[in-house]
Amino acid sequence: MPARIEPIADRYSAWRLLKEGISGNRGWKQAWRKPEPKARYDVVIIGGGGHGLATAHYLANVHGITNVAVVQKGPIGLGNGGRNTTIVRSNYLLPSNTRFYEYSLKLWEGLEQDLNYNVMVSQRGQLSLFHSDSERDAAVRRGNSMRIQGVDAVLVDGEAVRAMLPFLAMDNPMFPILGGLLQPRGGTARHDAVIWGFARAADRRGVDILEHCEVTGIRRDGGRVVGVETTRGFIGARKVGIAVAGNTSRVAAMAGLRLPVESHLLQAFVSEAIKPLINCVISFGAGHFYISQTDRGGLIFGGDLDGYNSYSQRGNLPLVERLMGVGVSMIPALSRLRVLRQWAGIADMTMDGSPFICRTLIEGLYLNGGWCYGGFKATPASGWCFAYTIAKDEPHPFNADLTIDRFLEGRMIDERGAGPNPWAQ
């Protein structure tokens, strides 16, 4: 691995904070530069979200490929990277998913030191509650699958759940809480910090982050990609990676690809800040509801998709009504707390609920997408595997199954068993 070339003077630390604080905070540099595009790069990553920036970081820091540009339509990190519910976990059922997300969790665990940026990974535990015997069996199957693969998982019975979270309504007539599957290493991270941390780390290694640079076309020469047309001119590239969650179908279409993807709305909510109430991440099987509390004190929660194709980033009330109904049914004390803000992201839903990190039919063009609503926790491993795939022109074992071909071959990775119904995945 090449040595990190980071100016010592620009490292973040408590001492530096103190020194700058005393001298009026005049010495801080831009977290990432605002360079002009070069004519050519070895690799152009389309998409300055978490995945694109992580890819650039690992290309530079793991594979030594530093002549890299990340191009972003507007400012970086304002897509799903900046509008998710910040949960990190690896409690998946199917081995292809478990090993990928577990690698991601391991990267999360060392990310602050790797990036010299506090992304506030907080492993306060992720608890998935079940409400019936069959849901319990499914949770046991999942937990055992995790444990067999060396991932932490603990089955918690109803009494233990009650002791952990005394504010839960355990005895709803239709959704009694029988217990939960706990991943102690699950938790949250600060979403914006992840973007900025990857951006800063990639920038310090020479990656050009080109904001306000919208890709309008993918130029090909025969069967091979040669660069991207952008609003800031043509940018040549030996290899182009697409990491544009929310717009995967549109950008892929620029290269003539049609994907098994639909774009859907996912809403999220934050309450007013309150003193600590909920320490871990809780998710409910009843009507799909998950909640955690930020360090600032707001309760962040979300649930299902709005359920129809949309690029609008604005949600509607049916989901809101239902979600609040579940929330208060499960945690009655939520009732008098106030929700401050709601927003929505565009989730690229695939036909089996699992993503793509793969080569495409076009030489030099790589695809990272279809993260459904699980993209945030995947950020480091997604970047790591995508960087590997681009650098080596072959998939890493962690993403070998995450191809588009899997549907034609019948190798779906369908955690929920919901089938080719993206709105239900």
């Binding site: 994907l259 098994p260 129809y308 194709n309 949309s310 036909m351």
Partner: protein, 91 residues
């Protein structure tokens, strides 16, 4: 709560319907082969703009209604019955 203009029942709130995705794909003939079925089941244009889509009026007249809706603005401009064709889609 979107208002879906059911061609039979009139404008109805979205919660009377189940959304069921792209209505432009047609089930191919039985002998059309794997690729054709694959495209029918899996491949989607997923446009940012006008989209022809199924809404099943499960709590109303139980028809599979074909609705033309803009995925960026959520505006709806036409809706027809299950076996009818809509006016030509345009962007």
């Amino acid at each position: 709560m979107l208002l879906i203009p059911c061609p039979y029942c009139g404008a109805r709130p979205q919660d009377e319907f189940h959304y069921r995705g792209d209505a432009t794909v047609k089930r191919p003939a039985p002998d059309a082969g794997l690729q054709a079925l694959y495209d029918f089941v899996y491949t989607r244009t997923n446009p940012r703009g006008w989209h022809l889509e199924w809404w099943h009026h499960y709590a109303g007249c139980r028809q599979w209604v074909k609705v033309e809706r803009n995925t960026l603005t959520h505006e709806i401009r036409t809706a027809v019955g299950p076996a009818e064709d809509t006016p030509q889609l345009s962007a």
